[in-house]
Symmetry: C2
Subunit: 73 residues, 2 copies
């Protein structure tokens, strides 16, 4: 089991949280996505997965949801 | 054809706009819903409908979407 924390920018409401959770949950092996919404700021997201996820795969899913990772995070 | 402008508070993103548009579009006779998102502030919404809509019906739909009309608007 692997746990990865990322920082997502641009989320402002519960709908945004749902969009990000949905995309990350679709990644292979992901068993949990915990999002601490800081509306309009940087929101920590903890992804729990059965196997390691590459930064590229995670960034792709966040982008697919319509958001971005914080620069340098 | 009737046009009604309301002021909705609490919308912060495109998902919020979609939620409000969806609920208002379900009201009988509604042919168009134009939303000018002012994120985190008061957003004007123009509802075009074949018949007049009561304030109660409109407020109910906005509430159903998870938002509220601006007080005194």
């Amino acid at each position: 089991m692997s746990s990865t924390t990322i920082s997502v920018i641009g989320m402002t409401c519960g709908h945004c949280v749902t969009a990000v959770r949905t995309e990350l949950s679709r990644l292979p092996g992901v068993t949990d996505v915990a999002i601490d919404l800081h509306a309009g700021s940087v929101s920590p997201v903890v992804i729990t997965s059965a196997t390691d996820l590459t930064p590229e795969v995670i960034a792709g899913a966040v982008d697919e949801a319509g958001y971005a990772l914080a620069p340098g995070a």
